[in-house]
């Protein structure tokens, strides 16, 4: 199989600029990304590193199909399910952990039946115990990220986007989550992993992109790219 047919998603000359209304007549314009060219291959784990505010999350959202770029184009294979796993987001605080897990699972493309079947595994992996039946508003941020991670783990998305999610929760769960991701990656799961922490990127990624001020500063092999990024910190 040639390389081109293995491209799941391709970004071409992506630019993102957004205007925010400060008040009635004042418009604040931000250029977040410019001239981004990027191919994502089936089965790879791509790391995106960069400091806070460099445009990592925006790039991730464009790749995940949540936002459209203001310029450039996103080419994607048909019928690809994508979902972003981010810290403590995406839950309805009034609903229980169980209801939220069920809802997220269906939103991420599972059928009702599949989602019901996964609930047991989600409860077990998240180690929430009886709290699984409590409203999410009673959860700590660590508990929320455990629930979010476990829900994403048991859903069948073609591309999983992970946004900084491993940086919260206790050390024990972080290790467990990391090894679960590694296991998933060893199959044919395609993952885009965003982090400002270079350690976890080094341990799981095949290829890294270093984003700085909205442009790709460097990309390629993990060790050298991460080392170059670390020098600027």
């Amino acid at each position: 199989m040639n390389e081109a047919s293995n491209v799941l998603l391709s970004l071409q000359e992506i630019g993102l600029c957004y205007e925010r209304r400060g008040s009635l007549f004042k418009r604040i314009s931000h250029e977040i990304l410019r001239g981004i060219n990027l191919d994502l291959y089936r089965g790879e784990t791509l790391g995106i590193v960069g400091r806070n505010g460099c445009g990592k999350s925006s790039l991730l959202r464009i790749m995940a199909g949540i936002m459209d770029p203001t310029s450039g184009s996103v080419l994607i294979e048909p019928d690809i399910h994508r979902a972003v796993l981010a810290i403590g987001l995406g839950f309805r605080p009034d609903l229980t952990g169980r209801d939220n897990a069920y809802l997220s699972s269906i939103l991420q493309g599972n059928s009702k039946k599949q989602a019901k079947e996964y609930l047991g595994s989600i409860k077990q992996f998240s180690e929430l115990g009886d709290a699984f039946e409590d409203p999410v508003k009673t959860y700590s941020s660590g508990m929320q990220s455990r629930l979010g991670f476990s829900t994403a783990l048991f859903s069948h998305v073609d591309i999983l986007f992970i946004d900084e999610v491993l940086s919260v929760g206790d050390g024990y769960f972080q290790k467990k989550a990391l090894s679960a991701i590694k296991e998933k990656i060893s199959g044919d799961q395609t993952v885009v992993f965003v982090s400002h922490s270079s350690a976890s990127v080094k341990s799981i990624c095949d290829r890294v992109i270093w984003l700085q001020d909205g442009v790709i500063k460097m990309q390629g092999e993990v060790t050298s790219t991460v080392r170059a990024y670390e020098k600027t910190l």
Binding site: Y18, I66, M67, D68, G90, D94, L95, L103, Q108
Partner: protein
């Protein structure tokens, strides 16, 4: 996303919210009936006891207008912020944003089904005999549902572009309460041309009057007008759903930038 999947997601969310809501309050599901009834009592106290409306059937008259109006008002106002407060989910998955207001509308629909049963029970227990004529309630209810969908989606969408619209939405609802004949009779206006105009221009006034004509007075409806209204509302709701699906990612970008 297929339409059946969309509807099933809307339904799941609505049921979950209802359950969560019921478990939050000591009186649980009883509030479904209690809340609208208390509102009716407030209006009754002000307009019949304090201001002496002079109608012998004022309470029934009021219930037939106020309960359907509250369905409209609570659906539209609870939908207004529904997309904004779902920012987390909006940032995670590319899903149709209409799901959020539609889930609120569905929640309201389930509650209102119970309220309509209550309404009928009250009317029957006050001595009005049920008749086949009451089947006209169905097209009235469907038309009101379509109006609710249209207004709620437009409102929820506008709020994503500027939060200021939440204020305008609540002002508009208050305005509509006064001009739709909720606690006064459009048919008793001194100038009959005004009555015609109100019923023609304000679909809510036409519907609330329709509920009364059917349930209380056993009078025929202006069927041609109702049919036209139903078609217009159907087209409007479909147009709004279509527009929203085209603007899905624009809405997401706005919500995430908030």
């Amino acid at each position: 996303m297929t339409f059946t999947r969309f509807l099933s997601l809307v339904d799941i969310q609505a049921r979950m919210s209802l359950r969560a809501d019921a478990s939050r309050f000591f009186l649980g599901y009883i509030w479904w009936f209690l809340e609208p009834l208390l509102f009716v009592l407030i209006f009754y106290f002000i307009f019949d006891i304090v201001l002496e409306s002079g109608r012998s059937d004022f309470l029934l008259f009021l219930i037939c207008g106020n309960l359907p109006f509250m369905w409209f008002a609570s659906s539209v106002s609870s939908s207004a912020l529904s997309i904004l407060v779902s920012k987390g989910l909006v940032g995670q998955i590319d899903i149709p944003k209409a799901i959020f207001p539609m889930a609120k509308i569905q929640e309201g629909l389930y509650k209102q089904a119970a309220v309509f049963l209550l309404l009928i029970a009250i009317v029957v227990s006050s001595g009005v005999a049920p008749s086949l004529h009451w089947l006209w309630l169905f097209p009235l209810i469907v038309t009101e549902y379509l109006i609710i969908v249209t207004c709620s989606l437009v409102g929820a969408m506008l709020v994503c572009f500027a939060k200021d619209f939440t204020l305008l939405i609540s002002l508009t609802i208050t305005f509509l309460m006064f001009v739709s004949g909720v606690f006064w009779d459009v048919r008793t206006l001194p100038n009959p041309e005004f009555t015609e105009l109100f019923l023609l221009v304000n679909p809510l006034a036409f519907l609330f009057d329709g509920f009364r004509q059917v349930l209380l007075y056993n009078q025929p409806l202006d069927v041609a007008h109702l049919a036209r209204l139903l078609v217009v509302c159907l087209v409007a709701a479909a147009l709004v759903l279509g527009t929203m699906s085209r603007l899905d990612r624009v809405i997401a970008t706005r919500v995430l930038a908030e």
